[in-house]
């Protein structure tokens, strides 16, 4: 098998990601398509259902270690979380927490690709997302780390953006995006002068993988390569983060310190805010960030710079 051919994570379907990311032959799916556990709501709206409601769940091995996995399919309803889709995520997380010692996973992997709540299913979808958050935090409290992988072209937005930030570890590619409100929502709310959702450079500067890594919102930045995601997930298996009051307070301090890096009034900023933020975070050559490839960007981390100094 050639080691040189890169398999694009962004171009894979949810099922392809699962089959290429995990140890070959180790995958066992729960509630597979033949069970037809699909949305009871969509047909009433004239929208075809998917046999798996847009999410694949099961168990497998990663570098020989037992893990549970959920993978969202971004091409079906933008990965939107409906009632059944959410219930499958919650069920997987509860099963991880309640598993007997012989079946207990070393981690739960969430291959997130979602615009957030599936608005067709309204309250059922909203409730589902809040249940996912609760279930995820319960899993972490039980000592099982949760890893989120983000690299699909639909990004990870809305409620799923919040879910991702509840996890122990986030791996993103430079193509991945992570945020609460998506670009079109921000534009519709604040106007095109504030945020032009068609400005792809702006969208990636403010929600893309490089920005999230530079500002500390994601833990690993990789290239758009399934093998790179696999390596990053394996490396993150034994690095759970504490889930307690001091760690939460430290996160709040970090966020408020970051907020103070930028002036409050937009007219005080020359150029764009993202580049200014990166330079104030200590990255030399911040203006070149959008054109740098991932290995070059990783090398310019301030820690690496200070080690060299």
């Amino acid at each position: 098998m050639s080691q040189n051919i890169r398999l694009s994570y962004a171009e894979c379907s949810a099922r392809e990601r699962v089959s290429h990311l995990l140890d070959p032959g180790s995958w066992h799916e729960w509630l597979p398509p033949s069970e037809r556990v699909s949305s009871p709501h969509l047909a009433q709206l004239g929208v075809p259902a998917a046999f798996d409601d847009g999410v694949v769940i099961g168990r497998a091995r990663l570098a020989g270690r037992p893990v549970f996995i959920a993978a969202q399919e971004g091409e079906f309803m933008g990965g939107g979380v409906g009632e059944v889709h959410g219930a499958k995520l919650v069920g997987l997380l509860k099963r991880a927490r309640l598993a007997p010692p012989t079946e207990r996973p070393d981690a739960v992997l969430l291959l997130a690709e979602s615009g957030g709540v599936r608005l067709h299913e309204a309250n059922a979808g909203l409730i589902a997302v809040s249940e996912v958050m609760r279930a995820l935090l319960d899993v972490r409290a039980a000592g099982i780390p949760v890893l989120v992988l983000i690299g699909g072209s639909n990004g990870c937005f809305g409620g799923m953006g919040i879910v991702a930030r509840c996890a122990d570890h986030i791996v993103m590619s430079d193509l991945g995006r992570l945020a609460m409100s998506g670009p079109e929502v921000i534009e519709a709310t604040y106007g095109v002068d504030e945020y032009d959702s068609r400005d792809r450079a702006l969208v990636w500067r403010t929600s893309g993988g490089k920005h999230r890594w530079l500002s500390g919102d994601c833990d690993s930045l990789v290239e758009d390569d399934v093998a790179a995601f696999r390596r990053a997930a394996i490396a993150a298996l034994d690095r759970p983060k504490p889930l307690d009051l001091p760690s939460l307070q430290a996160e709040h301090q970090l966020l408020s310190a970051r907020l103070k890096l930028l002036p409050e009034a937009k007219h005080e900023i020359e150029g764009d805010e993202a580049t200014l933020l990166w330079s104030r975070l200590g990255y030399a050559d911040a203006a070149r960030v959008p054109e740098l490839d991932v290995p070059t960007l990783l090398a310019m981390h301030p820690q690496a710079l200070s080690q060299g100094a």
Partner: protein, 107 residues
């Protein structure tokens, strides 16, 4: 003008076939996305190829009939249930997905 009501259209076709498939693990290909579809193959008792379609594009029964007949002419399968969720895929895409599903099925 004929009014086509909103909602999904369900279509069913049934062909007598010769290539008996026997037992196999269900196969799923494709995704329910715009202009795309998913195809699920499952074993079924008897000597028929049964095709069930749910589609968001209403009023194209004659074309589905032709695509399903062509599929059966190519493969002549028996003992299989084909289930399709369609979001407006063109006939060529449907035929390719059906062939992809069969290619994953046969060794």
């Amino acid at each position: 003008m004929k009014q086509i009501p909103a909602g999904l259209e369900a279509l069913d076709y049934r062909f007598a076939g010769k290539t008996q498939l026997g037992a196999f693990a269900p196969v799923l290909v494709g995704v329910v996305g715009s202009g795309n579809l998913e195809v699920l193959l499952e074993p079924a008792a008897g000597h028929h190829c049964e095709i069930h379609i749910e589609t968001s594009a209403r009023g194209f029964g004659a074309i589905w009939q032709a695509v399903a007949s062509d599929f059966h002419r190519r493969h002549d399968l028996a003992g299989v249930r084909v289930s399709i969720n369609d979001m407006g895929a063109t006939p060529a895409v449907v035929s390719l997905r059906l062939d992809q599903a069969v290619s994953e099925l046969l060794p």
